[in-house]
Symmetry: D2
Amino acid sequence: MSKGTVVLAYSGGLDTSCILVWLKEQGYDVIAYLANIGQDEDFDEARLKAEKLGAKKVFIEDLRGEFVEEFIWPSVQANAIYEDRYLLGTSVARPCIARRQVQIAQREGAQYVSHGATGKGNDQVRFELTCYALYPEVKIISPWRIPEFFNRFRGRKDLMEYANEHDIPVPVTPKAPWSMDTHAPVDLYLMTKNPEDSPNTPDVLEIEFLKGVPIKVTNVVDGKAKDSPLEIFSYLNEIGGKHGVGRIDIVENRFIGMKSRGIYETPGGTILYQAHLDIETFTMDKEVRRIKQGLGITFSELIYNGFWFSPECAFVRDCIARSQENVEGKVQLSVFKGQVYMLGRESPKSLYNEELVSMDVQGDYDPCDASGFIKINAVRLREHHRLQGLSGSKK
Amino acid sequence: MSKGTVVLAYSGGLDTSCILVWLKEQGYDVIAYLANIGQDEDFDEARLKAEKLGAKKVFIEDLRGEFVEEFIWPSVQANAIYEDRYLLGTSVARPCIARRQVQIAQREGAQYVSHGATGKGNDQVRFELTCYALYPEVKIISPWRIPEFFNRFRGRKDLMEYANEHDIPVPVTPKAPWSMDTHAPVDLYLMTKNPEDSPNTPDVLEIEFLKGVPIKVTNVVDGKAKDSPLEIFSYLNEIGGKHGVGRIDIVENRFIGMKSRGIYETPGGTILYQAHLDIETFTMDKEVRRIKQGLGITFSELIYNGFWFSPECAFVRDCIARSQENVEGKVQLSVFKGQVYMLGRESPKSLYNEELVSMDVQGDYDPCDASGFIKINAVRLREHHRLQGLSGSKK
Amino acid sequence: MSKGTVVLAYSGGLDTSCILVWLKEQGYDVIAYLANIGQDEDFDEARLKAEKLGAKKVFIEDLRGEFVEEFIWPSVQANAIYEDRYLLGTSVARPCIARRQVQIAQREGAQYVSHGATGKGNDQVRFELTCYALYPEVKIISPWRIPEFFNRFRGRKDLMEYANEHDIPVPVTPKAPWSMDTHAPVDLYLMTKNPEDSPNTPDVLEIEFLKGVPIKVTNVVDGKAKDSPLEIFSYLNEIGGKHGVGRIDIVENRFIGMKSRGIYETPGGTILYQAHLDIETFTMDKEVRRIKQGLGITFSELIYNGFWFSPECAFVRDCIARSQENVEGKVQLSVFKGQVYMLGRESPKSLYNEELVSMDVQGDYDPCDASGFIKINAVRLREHHRLQGLSGSKK
Amino acid sequence: MSKGTVVLAYSGGLDTSCILVWLKEQGYDVIAYLANIGQDEDFDEARLKAEKLGAKKVFIEDLRGEFVEEFIWPSVQANAIYEDRYLLGTSVARPCIARRQVQIAQREGAQYVSHGATGKGNDQVRFELTCYALYPEVKIISPWRIPEFFNRFRGRKDLMEYANEHDIPVPVTPKAPWSMDTHAPVDLYLMTKNPEDSPNTPDVLEIEFLKGVPIKVTNVVDGKAKDSPLEIFSYLNEIGGKHGVGRIDIVENRFIGMKSRGIYETPGGTILYQAHLDIETFTMDKEVRRIKQGLGITFSELIYNGFWFSPECAFVRDCIARSQENVEGKVQLSVFKGQVYMLGRESPKSLYNEELVSMDVQGDYDPCDASGFIKINAVRLREHHRLQGLSGSKK
């Protein structure tokens, strides 16, 4: 008799294949669920594999459109970046994937969900907080945190033995670990060319924004244009990847309190980050931007920590969306050898006033006002100096 | 009879040369003061020029050492960056220059200081707030805010005519204005090579930090090493410049409330920014870093707005310095085609614990704890879901 | 021939009466404008006085309703408080008053507005920023910053002489200045009773909120109830005043950089501040509240500094309003001898779950999860301890 | 054979008495530890009781001095307050108590510590994070999170039965639970008089501060004075209690994500909070204060959540201490019927300049400067208005 049905987030790889078989061994019916969020994968092969391993059903879900529109676009609006460097690619994918997983579980009447994330990482948190937030009664099976499982599979070798015993196809190359001071292996990057091998001529793009999200990208050289969210994002990934844009090698602080090394590539995301920063500063009031910058940092931490589906994240998202009302216009940029260079920008909502900043025209602006402005700003500083004089100390 | 003595921040250029002569016309004795903060300048020629134009005295001050140690190093510690992009090069130079200027004024018994900053920019504020903070009784002559001056010199043409009349040497090339959507002219950059023309092989550097500031840089390929602040900074400018690192073309929000376009090059600063971010995240506790990140943003705004010499900036500087106690170790990076790539890092103060993050060793860490951690974090989210269910709305 | 028309914010007092006459002397046509925001004033008498002094027209505008709904209610939602103590009464009145003033100016074709605020205070800023924001072309006459005016009227004595010469009625009691260590005179307070003389029995009120604003107040003892914004606010002022609630004697930092002493009374505002805090914490998610708390501080500074009508203040107001969606329910409190005591609260949107916190019922909550939660939170702390051990220092 | 030695935080009450006996039943040697942080307790009786119940050793530790100086004073400097209302009394006591407990454990060679905090509250977190931070190898026995314990003792009745069986003295009155809308019972408050029954004449105190902490308190009426930390704090508790100061009835958000009702009394803390706010605003630069205010909020959350002994809390404490350098002077206040009223303040480090704010003297201040200040602040607002005009929308 079955213990119940589990919807397993299945990747087709060694770990989740072993988990699929192990869950069956434990007495569960397993529904394999594989999300397509744009990764390079043979989904048909993965379906066959899951079926062969005994999945009762297999769902392969194309989430690419909703991933870009509902998860990446808000992150672009927020200039989301974690600890000043990480553009949060995987972090925003996780709630998108888990949301569909609990939808399947609810539809299929499954009380359990499962995943292959380790017990030391961020993904377990992102995955499970999403599940609990959207399906509070769900039960989560997290094998890498279950002693019977993790004591049995103490390393990759144990997994591979188990795979051999159960006709689970095994990948050829073992993952090599490396420490903080090792240079990252070149073949680690899948989406981006090595900048040393990238083209010697730049691509020049024009990205058009409306309400803080891209609505069109045009290659200025060959005239190629894209205007649906998914196509825009894919094209930017393609161009960015071709020029080796968006590789980072960082130390990061995981939510659960340990430091780890992260090597990421975010080609399209890096281009969008730069382009959005530019059009935003061009069209958004200075002080609105300052407040919004703080909200963007909060938003990034929430995403990183797995709180996409939380009341505070919904709140911050709404606030940020409100800030983007006038963020529209076109940005020109060139992409070359790992870098993105802004070339210019234009907007019907620009707050830039050429006459106002001109050194040759006064316009409506009276430079004498600046004297008063500076003197009033100095009132406090001069008082402070006075006090220091009295108390005999200087700083 | 003289109206008094003015210490003029003299650059040797057209504007301040005209101002020097104009101040004398108004009846002031003029002391010309030229600060060497590392710019490419013929200081002897500038001295002769100032003397020829009638300066009573000329001071050429080598501030390079104190500029690097007292102004740039704290900015490196803070990861100072304005509006997510601008590394504040000029902004930190201004208080350094103005401080010496008021010192000269006090020493020489001058009641007046003067400068050539325009009436619409940030530099007037940075300059004058420094003066008022350090010499509250000083009187500031800011010609570009004096109607008699700015009405007489309504554009570059007027200045050049005046220069011709008064034997002031005139530069050959007029400055060309360009709007927000024009591509920046290539010859605008003085310190950095065009990345398209930069070397096809990277330089690999190792930078060593102690208390958050660089104490040594070594070129891993040729073994060249520098270990004094000024030499380190100059060498990073040289290597960064050679590879076209640190060019930005941005829209920025001036303190006085207008938007302008800024084109900057900060080769050494960009390398240091990246390297310091890396060693800091490696050695600083996660939560200390979050708090310090907020202080760094405040610090950057204070610098940009001209408040280097203010009680709040001193306070924030002290707090940031406190956070840097354990920020030490070595960072390896490569510099190539406008980019800086982290290669690895090591530190005696590292908070990274390889065993703790390892997927093969549990160490002291019990993965089961993560289940409790996640469930407790979900308490609030599940309650929120419950409430939404009751009230019939979903978000 | 007239120099043009000025709309003067007229209070009926000595200063603005003198200004009215002085503006006419200078050759302006003067429209007197007096806003009723609920202050205790004989408006008919003020109209007669203004007419007698030569006002071309007199507008007495009842702004009480819009003041409460558009200005006070958003401040209640924000828990607006400046420097931890000041509830911003006057600060929110100013933009409300100035908005109507520029509306009158535009309607009447007046290019000028004028006011009697001093050249050292906050009100001049609040007043004028509102005018510039809503009527950018307006010209502002601020007599206390015009040398001909302030040099002529160097103190109260000069004003009174001028008043006598021009048949301006003069108040009997001269204002007495007092320094920071003088006890405030008892007769300074107009709205609130001295707590020592207030009733010996409390009033008990029930305030009902919807979307973060009060929609009804009921006196639990006598059953008296109010349910329109203006009536609610007036009644809370009455009850608060009767019990001496809301008096403060503080040092505050003015926007223009000087410290001053402020003695305020905000009886109704104090009751609402306490009641709103209570219902908000009861119904708002913890983390939403933390983010909203930061926005509330920003909002308070913006109001204090005069930026009510600014893009950033509109942005923050919208964000705060978004946070108040579920802030509804009833609060019971008692008002007694200068204090407000919460007695209880109830809400259909409560996030409080009696079963969840109960010490006798576990409910859905597993206490064992807390062990994991705490241990994961301790990971970082233990690592920190380990590092300190290695480096030999302790903090 | 003993399983080892446990240091139990013993209160003398029912819960920890049962835990003491239960731990012995489980095979542990138990050291009872009772901290004196100023609570009203018969410590000799508690010692006898613990010995009678079988404690191997009993430590009664007088922590009153270090509690006030090392824990309360920094909280006063920070104006520490959680969620705008709670002065964190218990929260700061916990790390103080737990620190001594692990010191005893280390000294006595005990590997275990134990406490009676429930599995749903904040105190378990505060207690255990302190233990892990200071003694990372410690093992914690938290009975209320151990199924064998909490399943056996499902309510107060079970505890009392167990107490009867084991000769544990039982308190007479059972605790009555009350929900969110019940008025708090009058006998709940132990330190403070009901304001309705408090004296009809105020006490007037003068509190002197140095570096942000009180160094002397004087009763202005009877001349009584205290000048050691413990005596100052005790005296303020006495006077505050006598006048019913510092009672609050709030909803609060626990760290673990649930809302609960909290009824607290903090008589001395409330007086100090008000007095410190006053002297701080009087002597601290405005902008330093703004930054410090943000740090104070962070500090309060850290304390509430149990992170007193964490690198970030140490960092923030140091920053706040730095901000207090000039916070010195005397504050006069009256305490009456539950309220604290500021009467005046004086300080050698005052930044208040009577001449500067005077309406009769211009001093060094030129009111015309304010015109420029306001106009420059309006540049951005007028540009914003212009853009809105262009785009046809108004906000």
